[in-house]
Subunit: 354 residues, 2 copies
Amino acid sequence: MNNFELFGNIKKAQNFIDSVKTGNFLFSFVISYTQTCEIPEITFAGANSDSIQFTPPADAEYLHYGYCKTIDKIPMTPDGKPTPALLTKTALESSSIPHLVINAGSKISPQLPYIHTGLTFGKNISIEFAMTDSQIAKAVDYGRIIGRSLASMTDCLIIGESIPGGTTTALAVLRGFGFNAKVSSSIPNNPTLLKNQIVDSALSRLNSEHPYNVVACLGDPMIAFVTGMLSSASEISKVLLAGGTQMAAVLAFASKIGFNEDNTAIGTTSYITSDASANFKTLVSDIADVPILAVDPGLKNSKFPGLKAFSEGFAKEGVGAGGSIIASMLKTGNTSTNFMELAEKEYHRLFTSL
Amino acid sequence: MNNFELFGNIKKAQNFIDSVKTGNFLFSFVISYTQTCEIPEITFAGANSDSIQFTPPADAEYLHYGYCKTIDKIPMTPDGKPTPALLTKTALESSSIPHLVINAGSKISPQLPYIHTGLTFGKNISIEFAMTDSQIAKAVDYGRIIGRSLASMTDCLIIGESIPGGTTTALAVLRGFGFNAKVSSSIPNNPTLLKNQIVDSALSRLNSEHPYNVVACLGDPMIAFVTGMLSSASEISKVLLAGGTQMAAVLAFASKIGFNEDNTAIGTTSYITSDASANFKTLVSDIADVPILAVDPGLKNSKFPGLKAFSEGFAKEGVGAGGSIIASMLKTGNTSTNFMELAEKEYHRLFTSL
């Protein structure tokens, strides 16, 4: 598989690929929200601070309909770079991989049928606990229920997420569990200082080492819910955690509450694994014996600056883009070049029809 | 397959069985509500008139957890006969068939993760239109979305429902589409006169033959939503409509908006196909070239009166019991006797632990 780089336990990575490449995939897209994203300059996952809350449902609508209902255009950075959902949609559509949307605490509900959990969004960890212990317990329980159901329907459950501000809560959870994390960001000029200030402030409130308490104090509903999904789903099927730093935080929590390492891999883009400002590969190997599959989406060769930007450190990952591209390539045999061409078609469709 | 009786196009029925028996099944459970059930003496799907609204979510909770959260005990008739969900649960569990709950207009939301549609419950057809045309359009659209997604995850999508009062709205829809329907009931002494009065009153308001208008005037959200599911799912996978009269109404609406007959079958209990007060087999063959598979759950031989009652005309069907039992037998090779013994175990568990 020349399309992928493998990190961590290479034998496990190869076994994972061998066991899923002839099977079925199911993409689950978990949308959520943390008020931490309302801190100025913490995220660019939206055209402006008010529109950030619409990004997760709009990503879900775009994945599904090919356009958004909650907002007029697809989610973009303030200077017009598109959401990584563009890559996810291209991947899923080119390979006919089905998907389901799960609302695990999004502030705004998407205008399509989705799996309802009744979870509420997380609070701003720079000023208070994100969630109560009982909210964490419910998120994990409901995650377990959904993980069990979805894993029973597929050979490989892909889990992606959309939660603006989520790299900051992920950093906090990783630090809370004692891991020396330097997280990626959706912005090339990663606001590391600001993130660390927020995390330090949140860590100062941490009053117990109990894993639920760590996530309640420092995390967000996505981390708790996806950890529940992973813990049950990995007992039944393969699970591809599609994402970067946020999935490392999931892995950290999951390593405390239990999951099946042998059925789990992280799938992400090479933009994450080669990010010099983060330490993703070391971090994951410190947390668990779970391999990383990294794909180069080939976008550095794109003629469209909006796509090329992903290879230059913008967004890098999100909406499970990396894992979806990996699954689509395994299913179709597409190369990075094929994928880039399909993404260009989708880009062209979007930006000439808008 | 000695466990099943086949009706209608026998060759199609046999083909359907042959093509699904080695594949995967997915059970989707659609819960809904029509205010028509509030008419006194129209249904016994609940211990009393106030508790009827809790029956669909409680059925969903029981299927999932093995007990209910919304109410204390599992749904029962006023004299203590259990919900047919007992049969569905026995079938799904014995064969490890996964399930998902879809809320398509239930008055009360179940306390578990479920697929949210945002549909509202149907109004009482004896006094007003059940739904607006745009509500019907949304129900059909959302049904199509979910049908497409779920059918992509399985070889055979089983669709069951729980909607108290639903045989009356089904009768109305069937009559509205010009079919001479005599419907089954969850009560042996079928209140035919009352049902026909309600239907006559509803039919007097019917002001257009447009299929959406017929269902808006006479139907309920379940019929519209499941019809949408059938229309898209049957293009992708096999679909087993698990139910009696309600699924005939779905078939009637679907035959107007389009679906793939060759991938569709009705799966039900022999208590429905042998019900002398209804004309189920003729009715279905009048509507579409869709075969009926009927299973004898073997309950006439049960030592428990509460189970034996199903064979004596109580409940007969519901919560997709018949279709679930058929799928479970295809998957496990169980006979009616095996199934009855499993149902007795579940009955015993429930009524000694309560």
